[in-house]
């Protein structure tokens, strides 16, 4: 199994632990990640607000790079997945194609539309049947109650992801079950983390994040897990501010998706960069009988 690895910006910077965990899990499962040092940012839902055509063109280039190598993209960020998929959708429109094709021609490339954009969550749940994954689990996450937090752009707009229920998905929860943990169902799991307006209306953004963490906690979650590093920033790095906004101590550890998978497959916490989180994951690790090592 071989993919063009699209880590996205944050996993190469403040969310480096996501990249570490993705590489560890991929090695363990025999997923080959091919590096593309030419990939650019996906636009993150911001460039398109300033210039949609520009954003589609940037991602057409990214998709064309993988296409030339005959590979599908593997993403580890809900927003990257959404923006790259949006480009695939928009490029079905002949009017958009007429704008983008000449631009790509100028930089010596072309887009045919054969590259699929697949998030690690989808690869793990679609390529590895639960029984197969279960057989590889060496440290079952028994007793750990985990609230999945999907990230909007992995679910919506829905026609981009015909297999997933935009407001009631189950893939992540099924994966959590396969790892031996117990999924927690709560309304917030498909809601927004507030990240898109974190630098625009910080109080509102923190409040929105706080509401979702509160919701997970009220439903008994010991930890949350997310396939999106932007959600991780809101839920983990700004959790102190979220606590302030919702007037409640939350103390909620938040795992990146491959960190949770890595733990179940036997990775040592330091191999997954767990000490880089703002909110300590020690309580959650104690539940599954392991400890973090300070960085």
């Amino acid at each position: 199994m071989k993919f063009a690895y699209y880590p996205g910006c944050v996993a190469q910077e403040s969310g480096k632990e996501l990249d570490m965990a993705t590489r560890w899990v991929s090695r363990k499962l025999g997923i080959e990640l091919v590096e593309f040092p030419k990939f650019s940012c996906c636009g993150s839902g911001f460039i398109d607000e300033a210039n949609l055509t520009l954003n589609v063109a940037l991602n057409a280039r990214n998709l064309a790079l993988a296409e030339a190598a005959g590979l599908d993209l593997l993403t580890v960020c809900s927003t990257c997945t959404g923006m790259l998929t949006l480009a695939n959708v928009k490029l079905k429109d002949p009017k958009m194609r007429a704008k983008i094709d000449p631009v790509l021609q100028q930089i010596g490339t072309s887009y045919r539309g054969t590259t699929k954009v697949r998030h690690l969550l989808h690869v793990l749940t679609e390529e590895f049947p639960p029984a197969q994954l279960k057989a590889l689990v060496t440290r079952p996450l028994t007793g750990l109650k985990v609230g999945a937090f999907y990230g909007c752009h992995l679910l919506r707009p829905a026609e981009e992801y015909p297999t997933e229920e935009p407001e009631d998905p189950r893939q992540f929860e099924d994966l959590i079950t396969a790892l031996g943990a117990t999924p927690v169902y709560y309304r917030g799991r498909v809601m927004c983390c507030g990240f898109p307006i974190l630098f625009v209306k910080e109080g509102t953004a923190n409040h929105i994040a706080g509401r979702q963490i509160q919701d997970a906690k009220a439903h008994g979650a010991d930890a949350m897990a997310t396939p999106c590093p932007l959600c991780h920033i809101s839920l983990d790095a700004y959790q102190n501010k979220a606590e302030h906004e919702v007037h409640q101590a939350l103390d909620m550890p938040v795992f990146h998706l491959p960190q949770l998978v890595g733990l179940a497959l036997g990775a040592r916490p330091e191999e997954l960069g767990l000490s880089r989180h703002l909110v300590s994951v020690d309580g959650a690790l104690a539940k599954i009988g392991t400890v973090t090592v300070p960085a």
Binding site: E13, M191, V200, L278
Partner: protein, 322 residues
């Protein structure tokens, strides 16, 4: 003989000023799986409890009266069949719409919704320089109509308003329906107040949208409000430049990627927040930097950055030619 399924409904009941708190009342029936939730509610009202309060009219997804929250999704009761809901959830939980106060049971007080709609001046404003022809049609080309083809389908049911987390967190935000309607007037070639409309909506209005697309998921008429809001943002920047923290962030992000091809996170925060805003963020930044020190460094430039820059130059000619 029509096949039936056993259906359990848990219906929100509350009369403010009378009941001390809301409660859920259970009702059970055997019904055909294609039964709309609205028909089941009417059956409850006709056969069990005539005091159950709800709005409805056409039963055909046209009038927009019966929007409510069914198994935690905001949608029309007449358009939702019980079979798939029972198959997925085992029961059907029915709540009134969110983001509006409950008047009684499943009826909400829609004043906030209509107030937010009125804020966008939902009517054509004639351009004095190009008055509308008196007693004559004022035709548009098919291309002009295409730009807002989806928006007039809106039936003002309020499902998007109920689903919107930005509205929930910030009462000042007008919500998806009003903004989708605003888009319709902004791109209508007969309207003479495009700039004024964009200027009026931006403070506190446009840039609070989270682009979570929950409104687009909720809309029974595929108006796609979140995409219309995105279009409005692009139009606002094109018409007025950077006037808000939100537009500053979008433009700063775009510029940031031109430099290296990848995001420079630390620099983006400084670009959007400005000097004073950055200073206010210092304590938080110090907390994060302790764990993530690489935020202080600029990321490397991608290979093939010249290609990315060429794309910018081709699609943003006028801005970059200088």
């Amino acid at each position: 003989m029509v096949e039936t399924v056993h259906a359990t409904f848990q219906v929100y009941r509350f009369t403010p000023g009378v009941d001390s708190s809301p409660r859920y009342v259970s009702y059970e029936f055997d019904l055909p799986p294609h039964t709309p939730v609205l028909s089941a509610l009417l059956k409850i009202r006709q056969e069990i409890d005539p005091t159950l309060a709800m709005r409805y009219s056409c039963r055909s997804s046209i009038c927009g009266s019966c929007a409510m929250v069914i198994n935690s999704k905001s949608r029309l009761a007449c358009q939702t069949q019980i079979g798939p809901e029972l198959a997925r959830h085992g029961r059907i939980v029915i709540d009134p719409m969110r983001n509006q106060p409950v008047a009684r049971d499943l009826i909400v007080d829609q004043k906030p919704f209509w107030h937010d709609y009125e804020r966008i001046d939902p009517h054509l404003i004639a351009d004095p320089a190009h008055p509308m022809p008196e007693g004559q049609p004022n035709p548009m080309t098919p291309e002009q109509v295409d730009r807002f083809y989806e928006t007039p389908r809106c039936i003002a049911c309020g499902a998007c308003y109920s689903a919107c987390p930005a509205k929930e967190a910030d009462p000042e935000f007008p919500g998806p329906m009003a903004l989708a309607k605003l888009y319709r007037f902004v791109v209508d070639p007969r309207d003479g107040a495009t700039r004024e409309r964009l200027l009026k909506i931006q403070p506190g209005g446009l840039w609070t949208c989270l682009r979570c697309h929950l409104c687009t998921a909720a809309c029974p008429k595929d108006v796609r409000p979140s995409e219309r809001i995105r279009d409005l943002k692009e139009l606002a920047i094109a018409a007025q430049g950077v006037t808000e923290a939100g537009s500053r962030h979008a433009v700063a992000f775009k510029e940031n990627i031109y430099e290296r091809g990848l995001l420079n996170e630390g620099k983006l925060a400084r670009q959007t927040l400005g000097l004073a805003g950055t200073a206010a963020q210092l304590p938080q930044a110090m907390r994060i930097l302790r764990k993530k020190p690489e935020l202080l460094k600029s990321p490397p430039k991608i290979e093939g950055l010249a290609e990315v820059r060429k794309i910018y130059e081709m699609l943003e000619d006028e801005e970059r030619s200088g």
